[in-house]
């Protein structure tokens, strides 16, 4: 009879527990690191971008004469509206606030305080409300993006005046307006209701959101059925052999192809060969669906394989054809897994900009697209365009757009996790 090993084991156990604790803390530290970086990233973007939710406005009293809009019969005349110098009306009213600004240069400097689109805005407002004609009205006009950035403290005033976008005099005027309560920050609805613009204060995200949504829709409609059918074919119909192996390897290869290559493919095949419209969400969606296809196929195959074979046996044993067994029983049970893969693939596609650049979705589009063949841009591309612009105000807008994109991606991934949870509970 040999001695018991209890003492030796107990001794080794101490060392083993120590190592386990060490490993545990190491894991915890790495998670904290990852989390900290995520927080820094999001915090940084948020601190840059959240201010874009507000836009500075100047209150001005303007009187639009009736003959700016109406002809002698009192009807709205397009010619008259066209002839009217709308910006001039706004500028004139602005100059009355600063009577001591004399001379061309000073007058022009005053004019730079309001948005270059203020006249356009006034025209729309008056045309919608003709009863405001011929009487003094107080309106809140958007400031120019430079004044807006100064008010938000994004302008470095220690920079020499000559290198700044606003002179000391202009800054002083802006400060006066703030003191008089004529310059306020209002919620920036334009950001959510307009498409892109040359002027940062008139630029919005809606065009890009709609463009992205259309492209995603096209991607979903094309990629999901194709991927599911491919997965069913590969799992149930393809005879194992060289050909099937070749297809399998290439689906995995396809998943690893850099996204810009899909863009090139879209450019040569869809645009140049089939002459499809440039910059259209339709083509964008087609390119993205090529990119998403392998992701969904791989996920679909995995979830089809996870369905208990006994279910398929039962259906086949009752005289079901392969297709009946697959569609009636296997597919419904595999669907949550397939949808999870689809959402993850779509989330990838949503954040993708490179392939869209190649097919021209990087165009400057000021209209919200109304159809999938209209020129449009997409959220990540819009972010790219804005972050590439000179104006500081576009940088702010790009940051806010990033926040939106990230929020949307988080939502999609959460939906995927929830679906998977439900799936696991059922089995």
């Amino acid at each position: 009879m040999r001695q018991h090993y209890t003492a030796i084991i107990a001794k080794s156990l101490q060392a083993r527990h120590r190592r386990e604790r060490g490993l545990k803390y190491l894991g915890l530290i790495s998670i904290l690191f990852g989390f900290a970086f995520l927080l820094i990233l999001l915090g940084n973007i948020a601190s840059n971008g959240l201010s874009a939710l507000w836009q500075s406005h100047i209150q001005l009293e303007v009187t639009v004469p009736a003959d700016a809009v109406l002809d002698e019969h009192g009807a709205i005349s397009e010619d008259m509206v066209f002839e009217t110098n709308w910006n001039g009306i706004v500028q004139k009213s602005l100059r009355t606030e600063f009577p001591d600004a004399k001379g061309m240069r000073a007058r022009r400097a005053v004019g730079k305080l309001v948005s270059a689109n203020a006249g356009f805005w006034l025209k729309e407002k008056i045309l919608a409300n003709p009863e405001l004609l011929d009487s003094p009205q107080k309106f809140w006009f958007k400031t120019s993006d430079e004044v807006d950035q100064y008010i938000k403290g994004h302008m470095d005033i220690s920079v020499p005046e000559s290198d700044r976008r606003l002179s000391d005099q202009q800054l002083a005027w802006a400060d006066t307006l703030v003191e008089q309560g004529l310059l306020e920050r209002h919620f920036n609805t334009t950001f959510f209701t307009q498409a892109d613009s040359r002027e940062p204060e008139s630029a919005g995200i809606l065009g890009a959101v709609v463009g992205s949504a259309m492209a995603m829709l096209v991607t979903l409609v094309l990629a999901l059925p194709l991927a599911v059918m491919s997965a069913i074919y590969l799992e149930y119909f393809a005879k194992p052999g060289r050909m099937t192996d070749f297809i399998e390897v290439n689906i995995n290869n396809l998943a690893a192809v850099p996204s810009i290559v899909f863009g090139l493919l879209g450019l040569t095949v869809f645009l140049n060969f089939f002459n499809m419209p440039r910059s259209a969400p339709l083509v964008g969606g087609m390119v993205l669906s090529l990119m998403t296809l392998p992701t969904i196929i791989i996920a679909a195959r995995a979830s089809i394989r996870a369905v208990p074979p006994s279910i398929r046996d039962a259906a086949l044993g009752l005289g079901a054809s392969k297709m009946q067994a697959a569609l009636d029983h296997v597919l419904p049970m595999a669907m949550p897994g397939i949808l999870t893969g689809t959402i993850i693939g779509m989330a990838q596609a949503l954040g993708e900009s490179a392939p869209l650049l190649m097919i021209g979705m990087v165009a400057f589009v000021v209209d919200v697209p109304a159809a999938i063949t209209d020129p449009a841009t997409a959220l990540p591309v819009q972010i790219y365009i804005w972050s590439d612009s000179a104006e500081r105000a576009f940088y702010e807008k790009a940051s806010l757009a990033i926040l939106f994109l990230v929020a949307f991606l988080i939502l999609m991934n959460m939906a995927a996790v929830l679906l998977r949870r439900r799936f696991e509970r059922h089995h």
Binding site: K239, P240, P308, S310, I311, R312, D313, A314, A315, L316, G317, L318, G319, A320, S321, Q324, D328, H329, M333
Partner: protein
């Protein structure tokens, strides 16, 4: 005694590995034939040959002939889907679809387009439930999920599901191995009743079960059919030493 099915020189390979070697076996009509043998002896493989389920296993090759009545079900012009509709199968683990009891049993008639009328479909489902003696148990919950039933009930639903398309032969692959003794008894009683109308082939690990319910038994060993004959004889005076060893529990 008329033979419902006849196997001639059936060989099965999985890749390079031979799973069954030259099986010749007659399956008499309206009787229960038990396939017995140790795990891996090929009895389940043989059972799956009888309704061409092995077609669905990749790398599995079947050669030889199996006749259903006078027709070789491995002849090129035969549609395996039709074979499986004529020869029902019940599996080791109860495998109801995650659907209602009614839909489970109606699945076979529906996909095979046996009837267009809902009333007739209901009759078929009720008849199948009557045959397995479950009508009283489930008549008020036909729309509830079949997966909520007990294991024994699920297995009887699976048998009813097979009966709903009126198969000529019923193949059973260890139908009681996942069930408790009471549920097993019920299934065995059911099989005895059914054997007057159906030809039944059952794979079983339980020698007692084979002795209780089958008229004939076939002993498989390492991919070969060693001995087949009346169950009484196999269990009392087997011809082959290997059969005797298995029966008496010396291996397997």
């Amino acid at each position: 005694m008329q033979n419902k099915m006849t196997a001639r020189n059936v060989e099965v390979h999985y890749g390079d590995k031979m799973a069954l070697d030259g099986i010749n076996l007659d399956i008499p009509q309206h009787q229960i034939l038990a396939l017995i043998g140790a795990s891996g002896c090929g009895k389940s493989t043989f059972l799956r040959c009888l309704n061409r389920m092995n077609d669905e296993i990749s790398g599995c090759r079947v050669s030889g002939e199996i006749f259903l009545d006078d027709e070789n079900i491995y002849a090129p012009k035969i549609d395996p889907v039709l074979v499986r509709a004529r020869i029902g199968m019940v599996f080791q683990k109860p495998n109801p679809f995650p659907k209602s009891i009614f839909d489970n049993i109606a699945f076979g008639p529906r996909i095979n387009r046996i009837t267009e009328s809902e009333a007739e479909l209901r009759d078929i489902v009720h008849y199948a439930l009557e045959r397995v003696g479950m009508m009283d148990e489930v008549k008020d919950r036909l729309q509830e999920s079949a997966t909520g039933l007990s294991g024994g009930q699920q297995q009887r639903i699976c048998i009813a599901r097979a009966l709903a398309i009126a198969p000529e032969v019923l193949l059973m692959d260890e139908p009681c191995s996942a069930l408790d003794p009471i549920a097993t008894t019920r299934i065995e009683e059911l099989l005895e009743v059914l054997s007057s109308d159906y030809t039944i082939v059952i794979v079983t690990h339980s020698m007692h079960q084979a002795a209780r319910i089958s008229q004939r038994s076939a002993f498989f060993h390492l991919g070969e059919l060693i001995e087949v004959g009346a169950t009484d004889k196999i269990f009392t005076k087997p011809d082959d030493q290997r059969t005797e060893n298995y029966i008496t529990g010396r291996f397997g």
